[in-house]
């Protein structure tokens, strides 16, 4: 069978897998009865419903002709990878190295994702944004964010 809409085919599959996973996960909790619904009652019903809707989307994607085949298109792996890596790096480094290191790192790695990386601009951004964030979030709003490396603070 030929896939007629790629987007819908994969969406349908995604809904089916997630729905089944949630419904299956719900089976480890008590289901209860309609008179006394337990913790599994609602998620199980929803999971089943989601899987059902997924089947409808999937079948439609296999049956109805769509102009151009609805391709998913270019994924843009480079920006996705670099932006998400930058965020993960920030999350990993912030608790130990503090914002003074983690934030420039985030901006630097994140900027690599744009395809028009300009070193001077990025370095200026790093300095300006880090200072601005310290001023607004730490000084102004009084949020608790580790500022510098924890081993320096002793």
């Amino acid at each position: 069978m030929r896939i007629k809409s790629r987007k819908d085919f994969w969406s349908g599959l995604m809904f089916i897998v997630t729905g089944v996973a949630f419904a299956w996960g719900a089976t480890s909790y008590s289901f209860g009865s309609s008179a006394r619904p337990g913790p599994a009652y609602f998620p199980f019903g929803l999971g089943a419903l989601l899987a059902l809707l997924g089947v409808i989307v999937l079948v439609k994607a296999l049956v109805f002709e769509v102009e151009g085949g609805d391709p998913i298109g270019h994924w843009g792996f480079r920006p996705a990878l670099l932006v998400l890596a930058a965020v993960l790096l920030f999350g990993l480094t912030l608790p130990t190295l503090g914002m003074a290191v983690a934030l420039p790192l985030l901006i630097f790695v994140g900027s690599l994702g744009s395809g028009e990386f300009r070193l001077k601009e990025v370095l200026v951004s790093c300095i300006v944004l880090t200072f601005f964030s310290w001023l607004v979030f730490a000084k102004g709003l009084g949020l608790t964010i580790p500022m510098g490396p924890s081993f320096l603070a002793g």
Binding site: F15, G19, I56
Partner: protein, 504 residues
């Protein structure tokens, strides 16, 4: 008169120095993100949620509200000057607004958008003040069955009025409801879907989802797109004032847009976006004056109507959130989250338990609109300069603020990782053509819906017919069914697609 007393109280609160300052901050920020394409009110409000821990509830909500309606003003500037909608709700404004700018009439286009928005904002504020109290009365009659049915109607309404595939949109809602199930069950105390991760027993933080999907996901999607050529009509913005003929043309469009927006904003799923589309379609149907510029070529009604409608809709979408505690769109879902952060349980009791907050917020909307008209017309030059900032410098800043926001939610890097994960999920949604806004709405309403469903079933001893035998609940559910049937009718389905295609 009661309304007058309420408004007096409200203006008393809104005119305090602190609240004026935060209203101004909201208006400035709103205009800023409205002008900048690629950063919307949903991501911005999500970004700012952690910082409102430090604020009082009233100024915090005044500021967040200002961002939402401020973005409606700013969005039109970008749409008119560079043919890129700064905000989704300005998509239709770009059609005629940009053509007007090309003909050297950027000034009148901006003025009609600004003046129309201001008029609509004033009317919208009055509509909220007048209709919120009676709706609150009604809400006190609601039992769990009614609340469940109302939420079902709200969720269905949110998707039938949106663009794209109906089945996929409903599936996205259910996915959102399911993600909301990752928590500790309120009734039995059993942690669900937590995989023994301590942080997950409190549930996924909705800020992490909103920022991941709307913040990171959109950045990645924008970067994957080839950079478009931007042509900015800055030097043409000289004469702002519209001619007499312009005023005569736009006045009825503003009135119609305001009326339409005020009604559509209250509907579940309504708000700024839907209102602007509906208004543009309506204006096109209206008979044109002899010699009027045709639509799509730079008709001033095509700017004034939708811009009034989206601002009116943005205002009145606060009604269901304030009176019932039920958000009609993703931004209002975040407002509910903000109230919860400040320890206020959203719902009909807010009006009586926090009258300063309730009326202060409403009055601040009028004040905010007044600030916005000043910010957006005389000071337009500042915002135009901002349009020259390239995206490659803009997005690292968004990234930085999102990450700091995520960390400070709980002073824990766990939320940063969850945000990154949802960035990836958001990218998948984007690629598969799955609209993410209904997911967020479902996520917020999920736990409330489950609780009310289970309470209703408990009360009826397991009898599902309780949802259709109680008249109010039956009415709400049949409205939901009717909506689905209506949208599935071929005639309406084609019209709906047509209306959204106009925007492309």
């Amino acid at each position: 008169m009661e309304l007058l007393d309420h408004l007096t109280l409200g203006f008393g609160v809104a005119f305090s120095l602190v609240n004026l300052l935060y209203a101004l901050a909201g208006a400035v920020l709103g205009t800023l993100i409205g002008v900048l394409p690629g950063l919307g009110p949903t991501a911005t409000i999500a970004m700012l949620l952690p910082s409102i821990y430090a604020l009082e509830a009233t100024p915090a909500l005044i500021m967040l509200a200002g961002i939402y309606y401020g973005a409606q003003y700013g969005g039109s500037t970008t749409a008119i000057l560079i043919n890129v909608p700064g905000e989704a709700s300005s998509v239709v404004t770009a059609i005629d607004g940009y053509k007007m700018a090309r003909r050297g009439r950027a000034g009148p286009a901006l003025a009609s958008a600004g003046l129309g928005s201001f008029f609509a904002g004033c009317v919208g504020t009055l509509v909220i003040a007048a209709f919120a109290p009676p709706l609150t009365e009604l809400a006190f009659e609601f039992g769990p069955a009614e609340y469940f049915s109302l939420m079902a109607l709200g969720l269905i309404g949110a998707v039938v009025l949106a663009s794209g595939s109906l089945v996929k949109a409903i599936a996205m809602i259910i996915l959102g409801l399911l993600l909301g199930q990752v928590n500790t069950d309120v009734i039995s105390g059993v942690p669900r879907y937590s995989f023994d991760i301590a942080e997950l027993t409190d549930g996924i933080n909705f800020v992490a989802i909103a920022m991941g999907v709307f913040g990171f996901g959109e950045i990645i999607a924008n970067l994957g797109r080839p950079a478009g050529h931007r042509e900015v009509f800055t030097r043409d913005v000289k004469g702002l004032w519209p001619t007499g003929q312009d005023l005569r043309d736009m006045a009825p469009a503003v009135l119609r847009g305001t009326a339409l927006g005020s009604v559509l904003g209250v509907l579940p799923g309504g708000g700024a976006l839907l209102s602007s589309f509906a208004s543009y379609t309506l204006e096109k149907k209206m008979r044109a004056r002899a010699g009027e510029v045709p639509f799509g070529e730079g008709n001033i009604r095509g700017v004034a109507g939708p811009e009034s409608a989206n601002n009116a809709g943005a205002q009145t979408s606060f009604i269901p959130m304030l009176t019932l505690g039920i958000p009609p769109n993703a931004v209002m879902a975040l407002m509910v989250g903000a109230m919860t952060i400040k320890g206020i349980q959203p719902g009909p009791q807010v009006m009586t338990s926090n009258p300063e907050l309730f009326w202060g917020l409403i009055a601040s909307m009028w004040v905010g609109n007044l600030m916005l008209i000043v910010l957006n017309l005389p000071l337009i030059g500042i915002w135009i300069k901002l349009l020259t900032v390239p995206y490659r410098m803009l997005y690292p800043a968004i990234l930085a603020f999102c990450c700091i926001g995520l960390y400070t939610l709980n002073n824990n890097n766990f939320d940063v990782f969850v945000g990154a994960l949802f960035g990836l999920v958001g990218l998948v949604f984007h690629k598969l053509g799955c609209e993410p806004a209904p997911l967020l709405l479902g996520f917020i309403l999920g736990p409330m819906m489950e609780e009310n469903l289970r309470r209703a079933l408990l009360l009826s001893r397991g009898d599902w017919s309780t949802f259709v035998t109680r008249p109010l609940s039956a009415g709400l559910l049949s409205a939901a069914v009717l909506l689905i049937v209506l949208v599935s009718l071929p005639a309406i389905r084609n019209r709906r697609q047509e209306a959204f295609r106009d925007a492309d």
